[in-house]
Amino acid sequence: MTGLLPEDIETGERIRLGETHLTRDLIVGFAAKFDPQPFHLDEEAGRNSLFKGLAASGWQLCALWMGHYVRWREGIIQSYPDPEGVRARLGPSPGQRNIRWMKPALMGDTLAFYATRTAVEDWKKPGWALTTVLSEIVNQRGETACSFEGLGLVRKRQDP
């Protein structure tokens, strides 16, 4: 089975992380704090916009993906014999590339979240690897609403 440490990652496997149903409260709750544009706050404004409905902020889609990914990783960590040791080996992300919002994500949509680790390479800091993850968010009609390529640091397996 594919794992979290650089040595255990099988690239190319598309992992289904989970799904989220977009309610009005979820969309408006995020938008009121972080992206208060009319088409993210108000149904009528959304209908009159390019999105043709109350649309989730693109940043909320990215953040929802992250939540699914972290919870999926936590699930795998629980299956390792040394949970604390493995958890300590996960690092931050230097950035993301090619964030594309291809379709609006509208109130009532149910989104599925996917991750495909596409590359694992050495990082400039010894003991760390840089992983590349293709993130995809797909609606209930099978259309990709959003995708991006994330970079993440992962600690290599350490000698006991």
Binding site: M66, V70, I99, R100, W101
Partner: protein
């Protein structure tokens, strides 16, 4: 809605500075619990033992804070129609409790929409800066804006 800025009102090289946002530990933890529950975003004592050296905001939280500043300072003052995407976003420095963040954007390029005569696009570089003037996050994105005059009726072509 009287005086919204339209695509024709912008020019390449324009720089906008906007907003101020004070980050709290409570907010960092609340965002992380919902959207990025990695332990270094939730637990300062633990985070001090990691490569990050202390609790810091999720990168997606930083992006949300930037978006809030950009919405208030730019997007909601313009006939903004959203964005099809971001070419690259980079997180250079951790965002910590107590940080006071501001936004800065520069217009790098402008072009008319190929498919919609009433739309124009701006390519922009955006930065999120801390009080020391350090860039904590930077990205390049495309913004869609309504044109004051549609191309077919004699609008400016770029």
């Amino acid at each position: 809605m009287a005086d919204l800025l339209h695509w024709e009102d912008f020019e390449v090289g324009q720089v906008f500075d906007y907003g101020s946002y004070t980050v709290t530990e409570e907010e960092i933890v609340a965002f992380a619990e919902e959207y990025d529950p990695q332990r270094f975003h939730l637990d300062d004592a633990y985070a001090r033992t990691t490569i990050l050296g202390g609790i810091c905001a999720s990168g997606w939280h930083s992006a949300g804070i930037w978006m809030r500043l950009f919405s208030d300072g730019y997007a909601n003052r313009a006939a903004s129609l959203g964005s099809p995407g971001v070419d690259e976003i980079r997180w250079f420095k951790p965002v910590r409790p107590g940080d006071v963040l501001t936004g800065r954007s520069e217009i790098l390029a402008r072009r008319a929409s190929n498919s919609r005569p009433d739309l124009g696009l701006n390519t922009m570089k955006h930065q999120l800066l801390n009080a020391a003037g350090e860039v904590v996050m930077e990205m390049h994105s495309t913004q869609m804006l309504r044109r004051r005059t549609a191309l077919a009726t004699g609008g400016e072509r770029v």
